[in-house]
């Protein structure tokens, strides 16, 4: 066994000396994969870049060493470093669409950094294309990145990284933007490369299930520090740090509908970490001793930075199953109904004969991969997609197809919440003004009571009303999404149309938003929840419609569809959804990885 990566005491600082990552040490043997997991702001990307001896502008690597094979990355001059970043350590970025130069052909992209004659390069490029499972003919080499799908682009990015046979490859969230089936294939590829090429890799992700499926070792980052480090099974099945446990508790399960425990508070910003244990201000089990910073120490096979590294059983926190809302819905009580909706972009048909209904107090999930038409469907319902046929009805009355033809009441009764919380609020308005603007559409509620209605909406979503003077930029992603929900609530809606509202949030924040939406369902709101994540569906929806290529291929109660899917497409979606090793709550058996990577 040869150690490929040995990083020790790595510290990266901002120009003013505030640490972004602090004293991080990693070690990795040949053929192994290290998963680095953490939420946004944990410093995991900074760490990944520091392993390449790279720091973003205004940030510098202040201490520590990175040794990859025989190369000391932090002590190279510029020219050698550039060469080392190709031949010793390679990097695969999150978004291949942005990382690949759209004007270059795949042949050029792949062979750019290689030495040798043109013929040799082409041979090498073809070999690597076969290896990553893509066609290797001349026509394919002449294609450009935009002619490929997202999954193919990511394969090319991986091929570009491995073509120079680097000792170590760093994958920074390589599967984050991909559909479940594409993601499963890319993960398969990475696993396979680990076996066939003895590839050593660092895999950075916020997704615990992905890490569980690809990594041998796991490093959990929080606030720029390593809080837990060990083998994948030990860290994810028997987590010892409260943060790791909290993170695992926040992940929705595909098997069971259960309470999700959000982590209170927010990740400390750079330079604002508490003096003691970095997690102490959000930890449910913090004690006096947590006021001094604990060192990383070895407890039962894992490195843990906690003074109370006991197992979960010691604290008796177990996820609890929650039932569906007990509202029994009589027939024909649908508040929103769509019949035979067909939607078009130009002459291309996107939706084919889609019919569905949303009932009060219940949540209908619309599930599909990208391109299935699920977002178009929600836009049709809100009336922003003009080009459609079919019939809509709201409260039993026919609903005009476009928003211009709808009356004020219909516009208020249907409210839309967008995927991207960063753009759903006007950045030049305080959040209080945003809510006031929403209320202005309800003349009966204006005047003296408006302040009270706004404050009430803020309280309902768990935002303190004294934050009303803030601009969206001053809030976290989760808070912005709550404000967007509050804005929908001031309209006093009957139905919320939620378009992937949790997909850009961290799991701990997603947990709190799901809990909020559940409580709104309990208040009697109807909800249409568009998502690609089946585990989220399991945890929020009562009924589900599976959308594929613009058609509803399966529809029914969540537990029926998810436990006994009848359509092959639903079955494949389920099969490709990744799960944590400790998935089943009542059966705490540890699922073994399907394929063992590496030499151990």
């Amino acid at each position: 066994m040869t150690m490929v990566l040995k990083a020790s005491g790595l510290t990266v600082e901002r120009a003013d000396g505030a640490p972004i990552i602090e004293d991080v040490s990693l070690g990795l043997d040949r053929g192994e994969v290290m998963g680095i997991v953490g939420e946004s702001g944990s410093g995991k990307s900074t760490l990944a870049l520091a392993l390449l001896a790279y720091a973003r502008r205004g940030v510098r690597i202040a201490g520590g060493s990175v040794r990859v094979a025989d190369t000391n990355m932090l002590e190279l001059d510029t020219a050698t470093l550039r060469k080392a970043r190709r031949e010793v350590v390679a990097y695969v970025a999150q978004d291949p669409g942005a990382a690949l130069n759209p004007m270059l052909t795949l042949g050029t992209l792949l062979t750019e950094g290689l030495a040798g004659s043109k013929a040799e390069k082409v041979v090498r490029a073809r070999e690597i294309l076969r290896k990553v499972g893509l066609p290797d003919d001349e026509a394919f080499l002449q294609r450009r990145p935009r002619q490929l799908s997202g999954g193919q682009q990511q394969r090319i990015a991986i091929a570009m990284a491995v073509i120079a046979k680097p000792k170590l490859i760093i994958l920074d969230e390589p599967t984050t933007g991909l559909d479940v089936s594409t993601r499963a294939k890319v993960l398969d590829l990475i696993r396979q490369l680990c076996i066939s090429d003895d590839l050593t890799a660092i895999y950075v992700s916020h997704d615990l299930a992905v890490i569980a499926n690809v990594a041998d070792h796991v490093t959990v980052m929080y606030g720029g520090q390593v809080v837990e480090q060990g083998t994948m099974q030990e860290v994810l099945a028997t987590p010892r740090h409260p943060y790791t446990r909290a993170l695992l508790n926040a992940v929705p399960s595909l098997q069971a509908r259960q309470t999700l425990r959000p982590i209170r508070g927010r990740v400390p910003a750079v330079g604002e970490a508490p003096n003691g244990c970095i997690f102490s201000d959000r930890c449910d089990h913090a004690i006096e001793a947590c006021n001094t910073r604990p060192a990383l120490r070895l407890v039962g096979g894992t490195q843990v930075r906690c003074v109370r590294p006991e197992l979960a059983e010691a604290f008796e926190v177990r996820p609890q199953a929650v039932g569906h809302s007990d509202r029994q819905v009589a027939n024909n009580s649908a508040v929103l109904q769509a019949d035979g909706v067909n939607a078009f972009y130009g002459h291309r048909q996107i939706l084919f004969d889609v019919s569905l209904q949303v009932e009060p107090g219940r949540c209908l999930a619309v599930v599909g991969e990208s391109g299935s038409g699920k977002s178009t469907l929600s836009r049709c319902l809100i009336g922003l997609h003009g080009n459609l046929t079919g019939a809509l009805s709201l409260d039993g009355k026919p609903l005009p197809l476009t928003v211009d033809q709808r009356d004020r009441n219909a516009r208020q009764r249907l409210q839309y919440i967008f995927q991207n919380p960063n753009a759903s609020l006007n950045p030049r308005r305080t959040i209080g003004q945003s809510l006031a603007a929403a209320l202005a559409n309800r003349p009966e509620a204006c005047g003296n009571r408006s302040g009270a209605i706004i404050a009430e909406a803020f309280e309902r979503v768990g935002i303190s009303p004294h934050l009303a003077m803030r601009y969206p930029a001053e809030l976290s992603g989760g808070q912005r999404q709550r404000v967007a929900i509050a804005r929908a609530l001031v309209a006093n809606p009957a139905v919320l149309l939620c378009d992937e509202v949790t997909s850009s949030l961290d799991v701990s924040v997603q947990a709190s938003v799901i809990e909020l939406l559940r409580s709104l369902l309990a208040d009697g709101l109807g909800m249409l929840f568009v998502t690609h994540d089946l585990a989220v569906v399991r945890n929020i929806a009562d009924t589900v419609a599976v959308l594929s290529a613009g058609r509803v291929i399966e529809q029914g109660d969540v537990y029926k569809v998810l436990s006994a899917p009848s359509h092959p497409y639903t079955q494949s979606l389920l099969a490709n959804t990744l799960q944590l090793p400790t998935e089943a709550i009542d059966v705490p058996t540890i699922a073994r990885r399907q394929s063992a990577a590496g030499s151990r």
């Binding site: 959000p262 209170r264 508070g265 927010r266 910003a269 604002e272 201000d281 809100i382 009336g383 922003l384 928003v403 211009d404 709808r406 004020r408 516009r411 208020q412 249907l414 409210q415 839309y416 967008f418 995927q419 991207n420 960063n422 753009a423 759903s424 609020l425 006007n426 950045p427 030049r428 308005r429 305080t430 945003s434 603007a437 929403a438 559409n441 768990g462 935002i463 303190s464 934050l467 003077m469 803030r470 601009y471 969206p472 930029a473 001053e474 976290s476 989760g478 808070q479 709550r482 804005r487 309209a491 709190s512």
Partner: protein, 290 residues
């Protein structure tokens, strides 16, 4: 659950009003100081000028002396008095034309960007024609026909600058139309003019301010050049642009007669530029975190 903020987080992100944020920027502060100082100088200048700007006080192109601190110009008039009195035209014509071109340009841009269709096609293509038509030719033509009246000069500057502003602001506004907050406003049935004013306009304010500063400098340039070629303010009135043109021949013997008005024009331009750029940075910072 996200209500609990630590004290320093609360202090750090305490909301402050937009104007205060602008003033906190060093660039903006210097720009404002410069502009205010220049405006005060231009307004009180004629009253503190030691001589009548039109009256000869000595020989032409006399060097600076105790009598005339900055020397005299081509007709023996006091340069200092003329510099002090010569900013009046520029001081109101440049900001007014810059402001008008930005306001009209932005209005055209936002309306065409939001409504698209025929309005867009007709308005933007006419602007393209204006953009293609040489501004200087138009100026010569109009001034020859109607004479060099200040209002006409302002109108000509606006006509020259406005299409460019409209292009830039339209470019900034179009991506906003796909933003979720604009879609939301449409989905709840907000009328078009309200969306333009409340959702679009505030979010193009950074390019608007940059345009304002840029166009202020341009108007100063255009107005000065008009004076220089003799199609602007007419002699014997004191005007910085005119002074540059009148005393150009004496540059070797009495450089102050040219350099002093040029310095005034530069200071005036820099003030506007600093405010615009500083403001754009402050706004980008507020927004950038979003």
């Amino acid at each position: 659950m996200e209500m609990t903020l630590t004290t320093h987080q609360w202090v750090r992100s305490r909301p402050v009003s937009g104007w205060w944020r602008l003033w906190a920027s060093t660039q903006v502060r210097w720009g404002v100081i410069l502009l205010v100082a220049m405006t005060v100088l231009v307004v009180i200048g004629p009253f503190v000028a030691p001589y009548d700007p039109a009256a000869p006080v000595g020989k032409p192109y006399a060097e600076p002396s105790a009598v005339a601190w900055l020397g005299t110009d081509n007709l023996g008039r006091d340069v200092l008095s003329r510099v002090l009195s010569g900013g009046v035209y520029l001081a109101w014509m440049a900001p007014v034309s810059a402001l008008l071109s930005v306001v009209i340009g932005a209005a055209v841009a936002l309306v065409t960007a939001y409504y698209r269709g025929w309005t867009d096609l007709v308005l933007m293509r006419s602007l393209d024609v204006l953009l293609a038509f040489p501004g200087i030719l138009l100026t010569l033509l109009c001034v020859s026909v109607f004479g060099p009246q200040p209002i006409l000069l302002v109108g000509l500057v606006v006509l020259t600058l406005m299409p460019g502003v409209a292009r830039v602001i339209r470019g900034a506004a179009i991506p906003l139309l796909d933003r979720e907050y604009v879609l939301w406003a449409k989905a709840v049935g907000t009328p078009g003019p309200v969306i333009i004013l409340r959702e679009l306009l505030p979010n193009v304010s950074s390019p608007l301010l940059v345009e304002l500063g840029l166009r202020l400098s341009w108007s100063v340039g255009i107005l000065s050049s008009m004076s220089f070629i003799g199609y602007g303010i007419q002699p014997p009135a004191a005007d910085w642009g005119l002074m540059v043109s009148e005393n150009g021949t004496g540059l070797g013997t009495q450089p102050y007669a040219v350099l002093a008005p040029i310095l005034m024009i530069i200071l005036y331009t820099i003030g506007g530029g600093l405010i615009a750029e500083g403001a754009a940075r402050v706004m980008a910072r507020t927004e950038g975190k979003a």
